[in-house]
Amino acid sequence: MELHRKAQAGTFESSDIMILIEPLKNKEGRKLEISSSVMLQYGDMLSELVNNILDKYEIENVHLIAKDKGALEPTIIARLETAITRALNQQKGTLL
């Protein structure tokens, strides 16, 4: 799927993750910038999870910045899902 615009979701609060995504137009693939307060312990898992979700939505050309503050898996999934649906203009419930 092609992202239509930049979008973000989440916060910098503890146990949350802030995710920003923007489409890359020239088939540049995935450019991921992930940082986390628990990068040493969970960095690999976080990258794998982000890639799995992007796979699920078939998103290939994307610039993604994630700043993790110790979010659990359901929060990471939720924030990325929110950012993607916003970038796809799929979310009907938002005033954005």
Binding site: E13, P74, L95
Partner: protein
């Protein structure tokens, strides 16, 4: 025995830390809030976050309810489409005013349940009364469907709707409180009192909770985990009350076997209503009899 609902703790639907810890606060019931606790431009992220939390977080034995947005808003239907398939213990419907809108809610819920091959008798509905019109119709609302198993009062919105000051003694909404309790009791369902907003006033919380218990509420909404213990203390019977209730049940069984319906303990008459109250006391204390 019915689920105890002495406390219902509000958890803002867009707060991951509180959502993931909800089960450890010790409330009888959690209210994951997609409505007033969520900013208009974050309704989508809260809905998606609550969905994912319901899928993977254990809330142990705590009852889990989700407060959706009203069907008159752009968010209500999508909230239901997202949350109903996950079958939390209950859906809380805000600003319930008429049977007509309650019917519309239940029809939508059941269409979604049919689509997902889900039963219609697992998830219940809590109707929240927050307007003068809702108070006037509360008996019909409580009676309308077996899925409605609790009526709650939203004191903040009700005082705004009535255009009155939110007096600390609750005098402005006292009639509404009593009408809601009567409607709930007449239909044998729970009545949950409104929140006490001053989290630093523990004595005020205790006084208001004692009043709520005295007029018949089964529990009280909570906005801060600090309030849980005080409310539980008020709604949990004391040791003396438990001992007396136990004695009443014991004597009742003995007298019943002898064919006696009315008897006395310490000079006070004991008949069927007293026995019913004793049973309720033991239920609240989790004591089998």
């Amino acid at each position: 025995m019915k689920t105890k609902r002495r406390t219902m703790l509000y958890i803002p639907g867009n707060n991951p830390a509180m959502l993931q810890q909800g089960g450890i606060y010790g409330a009888d019931s959690l209210l994951l809030d997609l409505e007033d606790a969520v900013a208009l431009n974050e309704k989508d992220s809260a809905r998606i976050l609550v969905k994912n939390m319901l899928k993977s977080i254990s809330y142990y034995n705590t009852e889990v309810c989700v407060r959706v947005n009203h069907l008159d808003t752009p968010f209500g239907i999508e909230d239901l489409e997202t949350i109903v398939p996950l079958q939390p213990d209950a859906i809380r419907f805000p600003k319930t005013e008429t049977v007509k809108e309650l019917k519309k809610l239940i029809d939508i819920i059941e269409i979604i349940e049919n689509k997902h091959n889900l039963p219609h008798n697992k998830m219940t509905i809590h109707a929240m009364i927050e307007t003068a019109l809702g108070v006037q119709n509360v008996f019909k609302i409580a009676k309308f469907s077996k899925r409605v198993d609790a009526i709650t009062i939203g004191g903040q919105d009700l005082t705004a709707d009535m255009n009155i000051a939110n007096a600390k003694d609750g005098s402005g909404i006292d009639l509404a409180r009593k009408m809601i309790v009567m409607a709930a009791k007449a239909n044998n369902i729970d009545a949950i009192d409104t929140v006490f907003v001053d989290v630093n006033d523990e004595e005020g919380l205790r006084i208001e909770t004692e009043y709520a218990k005295k007029i018949g509420f089964t529990g009280k909404a909570v906005i801060n985990p600090r309030q849980i213990d005080i409310i539980h203390e008020v709604f949990t019977p004391t040791e003396a009350e438990i001992r007396r209730a136990f004695r009443i049940i014991k004597e009742f069984k003995k007298n019943k076997d002898a064919g006696i319906g009315v008897f006395a303990i310490d000079g006070k008459m004991v008949d069927a209503p007293v026995v019913a109250r004793a049973r309720h006391t033991l239920d609240l204390a989790d004591i089998k009899y």
